[in-house]
Amino acid sequence: MPELTFAQAVNQALAEELRRDDTVFVIGEDVAEAGTPFKVLAGLVDEFGPERVLDSPISEPGITGLGVGAAVTGMRPVVDIMFGDFLTLVMDQLANQAAKTHYMSGGKLKVPLTLRTTMGATRRSAAQHSQSLHAWVAHVPGLKVVLPSTPADAKGLLKTAIRDDNPVVFIEDKMDYAVKGEVPDGEYTIPFGVADVKREGEDVTIVATSSMVRVALAAAEQLETEGISAEVIDPRTLVPLDRDALIASAEKTGRAIVVDEGHQSYGASAELAAVIAERAFYSLDAPVRRLGAMDVPVPFSPPLEDETVPTPETVAAAARQLCGRT
């Protein structure tokens, strides 16, 4: 299997879907010649032209609204929202329009819109360019929410998103773009709602999302040297959520930690923890622990910013504590 970066995998998925289906188009700020500031879309405009890879004005609500209208009339738009922090600007078009149109129309209208955006801190980008707001969109019925953690998952899940007849919010961690991984050759998709066990283990379950999967795997390596066997499980899609897989793993190990880069309070980690704590209750030997980003705006100063996110050390420490090894 070839090795690709996460960014290349996203690019490949888009290229394949643009090639396969004429109704797919990409719209966003600086997505064409610039290929986005992260260079993720580099080269797409050369193959598909400016009619299908469109540089827009700096109008996030406008292009999201345009995407909804195009989707409902037969196209499959991929709207690029540069930073996840700008989801703040499109929540009306996303939550009140895209998410509800199918239901409000009694099932008659469909909104096959994919909205790609980013998340993640520690890039020294400060409070307005570092947020991970997936909990907001996951709270809106009618939206599907995807948080890929590897290049292979990113590619397969993005292709599924584009082919899905519903609005899908697809969130990429900016810190992942340069990460490499094996990506299967040729055509494949990955179904939504199927969690992936990234590492098997017996003593403690670590449910991790997006780039926190890497953090969890690093913690698991460390824990292994100490004789603690950690299972790392990645839900991959927050909506639909593979509840059964999380519960089964927690029932097996009797202990669970949830690691997610959204702010901890009222975050996605609360939902994942609540699901496990309720449904695996009688198998749990210890309370479910949550590790989210600190409940502070993301500070610019590196020594402060580094405090705000879960790290292999803090995850391993939580696991040790749950396993009674403090």
Binding site: P61, G69, T73, M75, P77, Q93, M104, S105, G106, G107
Partner: protein, 328 residues
């Protein structure tokens, strides 16, 4: 602009048909009000009475496959674009037979087959959708146009300016129809609208015109020109229609003295009524006799009566349907 006369000229059939449609809307809305007052309708609704000439004038210039997006005050747009009375009443009552299986209600009726992408309860909320539909038409190479209806209150929403900019840049076939009925809910539009309305679209390079929204023929004529222009690749346009709602902001808004006078209401009703104006013209032109018009009304009344009976008798959806249609 060079328009073939045939395209925008008003034939006798169409003139009569427009009268019929306006009448149907008027009667539908009176009945909707009655449903509220007799506590048969859940929730509230926003009546279009007084504004009928806009929906009918605009939609008469459209083809079935052209798109419209609509507002919280959307029954008129819906009927003008070809919806059936019975399924509309059914939707207002939350019945399974309604256009949205009862899930949408008055503020969300969509009628995909007739090109109605739906009413919208977010002021200005559909301006992006209409612009996207126009984008889609252009990209798919059809010659459909999209019409975006909105009240003048939507001039306060930033989204409108974002999408007008985009529509102008990309020469999209979309027509923004501003229904200026003078009030944003309970506030006069002049208290909320600075400068000059038409200058706004023009600043984005959009062709903008003003028309008497009580004159169905004028609305039709302007729209027909702008639609032909858009179909031909001439790009977006903005049509400002001055009008008035006779009733309250919604059916429950009955004591209106604190924000507008009875005299003002009476003046519009007596001098500027779109049905009366068009009816008089039809008679003057000898396109109709008083009897023809009366018959048109009776027929419409019968249609309303039948639709209402259908809706009242129709069953509610089964509670289990609540979880259907969340995802396609």
């Amino acid at each position: 602009m060079s328009l073939t006369a045939s395209r925008t000229e008003l034939g006798a059939d169409l003139a009569l048909e427009m009268y019929r449609r306006m009448t149907l809307i008027r009667l539908f809305e009176e009945q909707a009000n009655e449903l509220y007052r007799s506590a048969k309708m859940p929730g509230l609704t926003h009546l279009y009475i007084g504004e009928e000439a806009i929906a009918v004038g605009v939609c008469s210039a459209l083809r079935r496959e052209d798109w419209i997006t609509s507002t919280h005050r959307g029954h008129g747009h819906c009927l003008a674009k070809g919806a059936e009375v019975g399924r509309m009443f059914a939707e207002l009552l939350g019945k399974e037979a309604g256009y949205c299986r009862g899930k949408g209600g008055s503020m969300h009726i969509a009628d995909h087959e007739n090109g109605n992408l739906g009413a919208n309860a977010i002021v200005g909320g559909s301006t992006g959708i209409a612009t996207g539909a126009a984008f889609s038409a252009k990209r798919r190479g059809t010659d459909q146009v999209a019409v975006c209806f909105f009240g003048e209150g939507a001039l306060g929403q930033g989204l409108l300016y974002e999408v007008m900019n985009i529509a102008s840049l990309w020469t999209l076939p979309v027509i923004y129809v501003c229904e200026n009925n003078q009030y944003n809910e309970y506030t006069h539009y002049l208290e909320a609208t600075a400068g000059e309305i038409l200058a706004r679209p023009r600043a984005f390079g959009i062709e903008a015109r003003e028309v008497d929204g009580q004159d169905v023929r004028a609305v039709y004529g302007q729209t027909a020109e702008l639609v032909e222009r858009a179909r031909g690749g001439g790009g977006p346009a903005f049509l400002l229609c001055n009008t008035y709602r006779y009733h309250g902001h919604h059916v429950g808004d009955v004591d209106r003295a604190y924000y507008r006078t009875k005299e003002e209401e009476d003046l519009w009703r007596s001098e500027r009524d779109p049905l009366a104006l068009h009816g008089t013209w039809l008679e003057e032109q000898r396109l109709a006799t008083p009897e023809t018009l009366k018959n048109t009304e009776l027929e419409a009344r019968a249609e309303i009566g039948a639709g209402l009976a259908f809706a009242l008798e129709a069953p509610f959806p089964d509670p289990s349907e609540v979880t259907e249609d969340v995802y396609a």
